[in-house]
């Protein structure tokens, strides 16, 4: 009996010690793309539906004039060759933009949310490159369940102690946003 109690206490301690940090996010929100897939636009549609005070700038850069006016930035990770082509850039240029952007956002005190809302079909080497670049700076992850089929996001969440919220269907993310921003 004593052993069981001890085991439970140890398990509880471990859970508390390693549980991802609670994060509070606030409006106004800047929504941008990480990889130029249409996922960022879907996030904009979801934010509109959740009645969040947001601005959508697909290619926002570190020197964005009003970056400091936002409290949160949501970066929707997903690389698209069509999207990159449409923006006239390649994945390396996109990575450079994102690296500078998250550094500037961090400096200005914005909470950084990494979102993957397009699921398994938007995973691949270029998309993973974007995720790997953003993970160090991010405060919260919003991840569509099937994007984590290989456990990558779960592993990153544990490794970097970042809270991860998951949802099954893309449209379910609207409810998450509503809860997160207290609407």
């Amino acid at each position: 009996m004593k052993k069981s109690v001890l085991f439970l206490l140890v398990a509880l301690f471990a859970l508390v010690a390693f549980a991802a940090e609670e994060v509070t996010v606030e409006e106004p929100v800047l929504i941008t793309s990480g990889g130029q897939s249409p996922g960022a636009l879907q996030m904009m549609v979801l934010a509109k539906g959740a009645k969040i005070d947001y601005v959508f700038e697909k290619n926002v850069t570190a020197d964005y004039e009003t970056l400091g006016d936002f409290n949160t930035i949501i970066i929707v990770a997903g690389a698209s060759s069509k999207g990159l082509g449409a923006a006239g850039i390649d994945i390396d240029t996109e990575i450079e933009r994102l690296t500078a952007l998250v550094a500037a956002a961090k400096e200005k005190g914005l909470k950084i949310v990494l979102a993957q809302i397009e699921g398994a079909t938007r995973r691949g080497s270029s998309s993973d490159l974007v995720i790997d670049v953003l993970i160090d700076s991010c405060d919260l992850m919003l991840i569509k369940e099937d994007a984590d089929n290989d456990g990558k996001f779960t592993a990153l969440s544990e490794e970097h102690n970042i809270k991860m919220l998951t949802f099954s269907k893309t449209s379910d993310a609207r409810g998450l946003l509503t809860e997160l921003f207290g609407h």
């Binding site: 249409p38 996922g39 636009l41 879907q42 549609v45 069509k82 082509g85 449409a86 269907k169 449209s171």
Partner: protein, 354 residues
């Protein structure tokens, strides 16, 4: 006997000179209020195998105009049969739908050149046997009016593609050319229709290979289906597309959203949106007949991707796209009596064909 030989010889020579002839079997339902031809919008097509019938379905109330296109690539039967099913069942209450079920009729008049699929596939309809037409991806060379170039050069952008035969691919030739070859004139005629009828938005339905791992002849694995379940949107339609794919997912058929590439010219979702006021979309369902391994596939009753699933996907998409349109526009569109994906899966496609 001599007479019969003479008649056969004349038919063969006529076919070689003027191309194969194909008149689609379409049996309109109550929703069709008027029929016409594409040549009504561009006279030079009249009397050629590139002229194609179109079906106008007008609601009781004025509203938006939606253009629905199947058969751009005539082997993509999930697309053409979606258009046929629409014509034979749907009733438009508000707004107007113009349907072109066999957009490249010339391509439907010849066998698929990339496979050995049979061209006429029997399906049992409410009235007995009917035939689904499995045509080619491109215009019949006879109807093109000129030989394929070595390299395809898109008009007017000058973009080049290595395969010269793409000159006969309708979905590489928008916005077309009035005095161009057959396929360029066909694309031009569609643009004229869109302009003259003030089309607000259009869906060009297609099929691609399936999302399966295919064993190739050399033993390697090919991962197919990159395009399957995709909705490609012109830039002006991206927000609408974002809504629509979420509705599709909510209704059980997840789709991928893609933005039309600005650098790849000639595609309907790019050029229609760039050259007219119409917001253009293109959809892809998975057709086993387009998988890359060479043997003949079951393009009707494949257990994973039967024709009912593919037609159902497109019909659900049409419904969701129209609902999304209504969220974005004051000009409304309302369609009734369109079979759903689940109804098609339960009852079979034949039960929705007259």
């Amino acid at each position: 006997m001599k007479k019969i030989s003479l008649i056969i010889t004349i038919i063969c020579i006529s076919t070689l000179l003027f191309g194969a002839y194909f008149y689609p079997d379409i049996r309109p339902g109550y929703g069709v209020t008027e029929t016409g031809w594409l040549s009504d919008y561009f006279e030079p097509l009249r009397g050629t195998n590139l002229d194609t019938p179109l079906y106008i379905m007008e609601g009781e109330e004025e509203g938006a105009t939606f253009l629905l296109m199947g058969g751009t690539h005539a082997r993509e039967i999930g697309a053409s049969m979606s258009a046929v099913t629409f014509i034979e069942n749907a009733v438009v209450k508000v707004g107007r739908v113009i349907v072109i079920p066999f957009t490249n009729r010339s391509a439907a008049s010849v066998n698929d050149t990339s496979t050995d699929q049979e061209r006429l596939i029997r399906i049992d309809s409410k009235s007995g046997p009917r035939f689904i037409v499995y045509g080619d991806r491109r215009t019949d060379p006879v109807d093109q009016g000129e030989a394929d170039p070595e390299v395809f050069v898109h008009y007017p952008s000058g973009m080049e593609l290595e395969e010269g035969a793409e000159a006969r691919n309708l979905n590489r030739n928008y916005p077309g050319k009035a005095d161009g070859n057959g396929t360029q004139q066909l694309a031009y005629a569609i643009i004229q229709l869109i302009k003259q009828e003030n089309v607000d938005f259009n869906l060009d339905m297609h099929e691609s290979d399936t999302p399966r791992v295919v064993k190739m002849a050399d033993g390697t694995d090919y991962y197919g289906g990159r395009l399957a379940y995709m909705l490609v949107c012109h830039t002006r339609g991206l927000e609408m597309g974002a809504f629509t794919v979420m509705m599709m997912e909510d209704n059980g058929i997840p789709m991928k959203l893609e933005e039309s590439n600005v650098d790849y010219r000639g595609l309907s979702h790019r050029e229609i949106g760039d050259n007219t006021d119409c917001i253009s979309f293109l959809s892809e369902s998975p057709n086993p007949g387009q998988d890359r391994n060479p043997e003949q596939k079951d393009v009707i009753t494949d257990p994973e991707f039967p024709i009912e699933h593919r037609v159902g996907m497109h019909l659900n998409l049409i419904n969701d796209l129209c609902e999304t349109w209504n969220m974005f526009s004051d000009k409304q569109i309302m369609i009734e009596n369109l079979p759903t994906h689940d109804e098609l899966m339960e009852n079979g496609l034949g039960n929705y064909l007259n």
